[in-house]
């Protein structure tokens, strides 16, 4: 029997990515960010999620995909983590997809740069590929980027 998994999908820089739906707390539209000086570049800032302060990590920067245009506002995919919620900033939110384990394959070695470390596998869908984001790695941010 093949297991069916549900993925919350989103696009970023033309890539179709997904994270297991169980790990997603909620998806919210763009929130005003408070920047955190001295933090790692991929930390875009802090958002106020109903009284909770949530760190927003920009997946574009993490994947090395270049900056979004100014008028494009990222969407927050808020992930539930052991130590509180963390938000991933993505270009656009997609559907929740059901994928079967059969269609899974390890990440192709040809993936470029930052993406290769963060993609744990690929689901072959009817139309295109769904890249599975390794949330642990995506959120592993160096505490400091301080230059002495």
């Amino acid at each position: 029997m093949t297991r069916i998994e549900q993925y919350c999908t989103f696009t970023i820089g033309g890539l179709h990515l997904g994270v297991p739906v169980q790990g997603v707390q909620e998806v919210i539209r763009y929130q005003e960010l408070t920047r955190v000086p001295l933090a790692a570049a991929e930390v875009r800032g802090l958002i106020n999620l109903r009284g909770q302060i949530v760190t927003a990590v920009d997946l574009r920067r993490k994947l090395g995909l270049g900056e979004r245009a100014d008028e494009e506002r990222p969407t927050n995919v808020v992930l539930r983590r052991d130590d509180g919620a963390v938000s991933l900033l993505v270009d656009e939110i997609g559907d929740v997809l059901e994928v079967s384990e059969d269609s899974w394959e390890p990440a192709p070695r040809t993936l470029k740069g930052g993406a290769r470390d963060l993609i744990s596998g690929v689901y072959k869908l009817d139309k295109g590929l769904l890249l599975v984001l390794d949330a642990d790695k995506a959120l592993a941010v160096e505490g400091r980027s301080e230059v002495a």
Binding site: P37, L38, L46, N48, Q52
Partner: protein, 758 residues
């Protein structure tokens, strides 16, 4: 734990609380063996534990408690007299029960330990003294009379059956009135106790739930603030009235929820009588513990955080503070030492004092120790005042105890106490009087969750600065900017009432704004927030100073944990997030508290920041290669004068300076070095000022400001205070006052009078 029966869990929680009280009660009883109320309370507690154990099927625990109960019942009936052995036996019983409870909590079973020895001890105790103790019927009568009084004044207290009351039904004449007297008159608020007839008005609530409520209330407050803003534009609509009500209710709700997190400090003090008793016995001392202000309330998180530091201080007071009875008697003091714990609210903070009437701290021994441990050079140590000296007991690895005992004296303690208290935004201080005793004073904030903060803007963002660190705010207008802020060795300094204050440009440190003190000067006034952290005082340059506000501190996520500049974040009235600055972290980053930070890392070189400041030197060069330093505290200003400004007055080179005449003195000349400054370029002048007299020291070049501990070697020559190695180079230390004296022995206030009169 997860599959543990609710009943068992409840039993554990309740029993732990009871045991804490038992410790206190037993010690009270040891002092006043005839206090029947206490005895009854102890009996009741043990009985409850025994009863519940039987019910839950913990046979071993039940049997131990049973023996104890037997012993206690004989005590209660007056057939036995309380004595030291019995008290020790009963305390062992409490420990045994606690041990078994611990084992039940972790494994669900009572454990394999054999408690028969303890049971035998307790049994033998009750027989040995059985014949000796006289029966005492008198208190019974007294107790009965008291019941009438109390019952009359508190009609509701008596009839309600509770577990505890029911358990002593066999001896109502003793237990019931005892309980009423014990609890009712002392507790003005009915929700003080879980045992009396009032227990139904209490429920247990999970702290996590309270925390969540707290968060939600915070949210509500924000929503309320936004509604208030909208409503204010509306004027007299019905919405305005409702808003007003919402406003009031929200405020009350906020206060109410805050209160649920508050606990009386007595909760953690309860264990101290036992600690004191055991320790005093171990050290062969007699110590009485008095407590004042048990009802002083503190946030739960803070209560937890100060538990260990307090224990440490108390242990220390017994071990090092209070003398042996013999020595006390010899010194004409009461044989019994006294430790007083006081807690009270003052100025929005909680003050806790722990004082003993022991021998006090031997200042000379501390001084010797400071030198021995290499914390300070001997001369510096000799200069310390008694008060400064005593503060060194908080230095890492410091202990003056002649020998290490297993109580304290291992030299890892007071520094941990200090660190832990500072961690929660508190401060600790010690004062001691030889022969009279020592007092530790701890000041801590009421709550960690909500703190008063100053909001500032920088680079378009707002930041919150905890007010604990705030000393004052200074605004320097643009036209005064160039004159009042100078830069030495890359560090901008502001002269604040005669002291040089190092400045940290927040925007530049955080990389969010252009440096405000660039070469091209600033285009606006400077706002300086004067802060104190880790003993260092510094000024922080910000764009704008906004307001003060009570903020709710929220932690930062894992991704930002490594950033030392932030203590957390908070949500502002408009719903936006603002970072809370960690003042100590900013100081280190800005390089104004680096020496201290480095010293903290390396315990061996623990150099106090206050000390470092004492040695702060302004270094400059005279002649070709001669390095000279003068104490920074003697420096009033650093100036440059064009050579054209040089004039002659009273046979000396002078310049006009701020409407006065400033005599100049070439340091090179005074020290007999060859002067190279004869060509061109402006004169570099260090302005020295003392008692209304100013003197300009002409130097070749200003080098740096250093804060270094150094050892001076005496040097000949009137103008030199000594020679020292600083930054790895031999440096002369100039005695400016002597130099000024030699030039101007009559102490004419030069600048204040026309030059001709001299």
């Amino acid at each position: 734990m997860s599959d543990m029966d609710d009943a068992v869990r409840e039993f554990l929680v309740e029993s732990y609380e009871n045991l804490d009280r038992l410790d206190t009660d037993l010690i009270t009883l040891e002092e006043n063996p005839r206090e029947r109320e206490t005895l009854a309370s102890i009996f009741r507690t043990i009985h409850t534990i025994k009863g519940t154990c039987g019910f839950l099927g913990f046979g071993k625990l039940e049997s131990v408690a049973h023996v104890g109960e037997n012993l206690l019942s004989r005590l209660r009936d007056g057939k036995l007299e309380m004595n030291d052995d019995i008290a020790t036996g009963l305390l062992q019983l409490v420990d045994a029960v606690r041990h078994m409870l611990g084992s039940i909590e972790s494994s669900g079973a009572e454990g394999e330990d054999d408690w028969s020895a303890l049971k035998e001890l307790l049994s033998s105790l009750q027989e040995r003294d059985a014949a000796a103790a006289p029966a005492t019927p008198a208190p019974l009568v007294r107790a009965r009379r008291e019941r009438d009084v109390v019952a009359a004044s508190l009609p509701g207290a008596e009839p309600a059956p509770t577990k505890a009351a029911a358990s002593v039904a066999a001896s109502p004449a003793v237990a019931a009135p005892a309980k009423s007297k014990d609890e009712a008159p002392e507790r003005s608020e009915p929700e003080g106790d879980k045992h009396g007839a009032i227990s139904e008005s209490n429920i247990r609530v999970d702290v996590v739930l309270l925390d969540r409520l707290m968060n939600l209330v915070g949210e509500l407050v924000l929503a309320r603030n936004q509604i208030l803003q909208h409503a204010a534009q509306d004027g007299d609509s019905p919405v305005a009235a409702t808003t007003q009500r919402l406003n009031r209710v929200t405020t009350e709700l906020q206060e109410g929820v805050m209160k649920t997190r508050m606990q009386p400090i007595g909760n953690i003090w309860a264990k101290f009588p036992r600690v004191v008793r055991d320790l005093a016995k171990m050290c062969g001392k007699e110590v009485r513990l008095d407590m004042e202000g048990k009802d002083t309330e503190l946030d739960k998180t803070i209560i937890e955080a100060i538990k260990d530091p307090l224990t440490h201080i108390v242990r220390n007071s017994i071990d090092h503070g209070v003398e042996t009875p013999e020595r006390r008697a010899a010194a004409g003091k009461d044989r019994e030492g006294r430790i007083l714990m006081r807690a009270f609210h003052e100025g929005g903070q909680v003050n806790i004092e722990i004082s003993d009437d022991g021998g006090g701290i031997d200042v000379e021994r501390v001084r010797a120790k400071i030198v021995e441990k290499g914390l300070l050079p001997p001369e510096a140590a000799a200069r310390l005042s008694e008060r400064e000296c005593v503060q060194h007991i908080f230095a890492p690895g410091f202990s003056t105890a002649a020998q290490v005992t297993n109580v304290s004296g291992r030299g890892v303690g007071m520094d941990v106490v200090k660190t832990n208290i500072e961690k929660i935004g508190g401060a600790v201080d010690v004062s001691s009087e030889r022969g009279r005793g020592t007092t530790f004073r701890i000041k801590i904030p009421l709550t960690l969750a909500i703190i008063p903060a100053l909001l500032v803007s920088c680079g378009g963002d707002r930041y919150a600065i905890p007010q604990v660190s705030l000393l004052e705010l200074v605004r320097v207008e643009q036209e005064n900017l160039a004159a009042s802020i100078e830069t030495i060795g890359g560090v901008p300094l502001y002269r604040l009432r005669g002291n040089l204050l190092p400045l940290v440009d927040l925007g530049a440190e955080l990389g969010v704004a252009r440096p405000k003190l660039g070469r091209d000067g600033s285009d606006s006034a400077a706002n300086i927030v004067v802060l104190q952290a880790d003993g260092a005082t510094f000024g922080m340059l910000v764009d704008e100073i906004n307001d003060t506000e009570e903020i709710v501190v929220k932690p930062l996520g894992k991704q930002l944990k490594g950033l030392c500049c932030y203590a957390g974040a908070t949500i502002m009235g408009d719903g936006k997030v603002a970072l809370i600055l960690d003042v100590a972290g900013v100081a280190v980053r800005g390089g104004v508290a680096g020496a201290k930070a480095a010293a903290r890392g390396k315990q061996a070189e623990s150099e106090d920041a206050a000390e470092a400041e004492k040695h702060a030197l302004l270094l400059f060069r005279v002649g070709e290669d001669r390095r000279v330093g003068i104490p920074l505290s003697a420096v009033a200003r650093l100036e440059e004068f064009p050579r054209s400004a040089l004039e002659q007055g009273a046979g000396r080179r002078v310049v006009q300076y701020r409407g006065e005449i400033l005599p100049l003195c070439s340091v090179a000349e005074a020290l007999g070095a060859c002067e190279t400054q004869g060509q061109d370029g402006p004169l570099q002048v260090v302005v020295y000022s003392n008692k209304g007299r100013s003197l300009g020291l002409v130097v070749e070049r200003i080098l740096d400001i250093v804060a270094e501990a150094y050892t001076k070697r005496p040097a000949k020559g009137g103008a030199l205070e000594g020679v020292a190695v600083i930054q790895g180079k031999v440096t002369d230390i100039l005695d400016v006052e002597a130099l000024a004296q030699s030039l101007d022995p009559d102490h004419v206030a030069f600048g204040l009078e026309p030059a001709g009169s001299n």
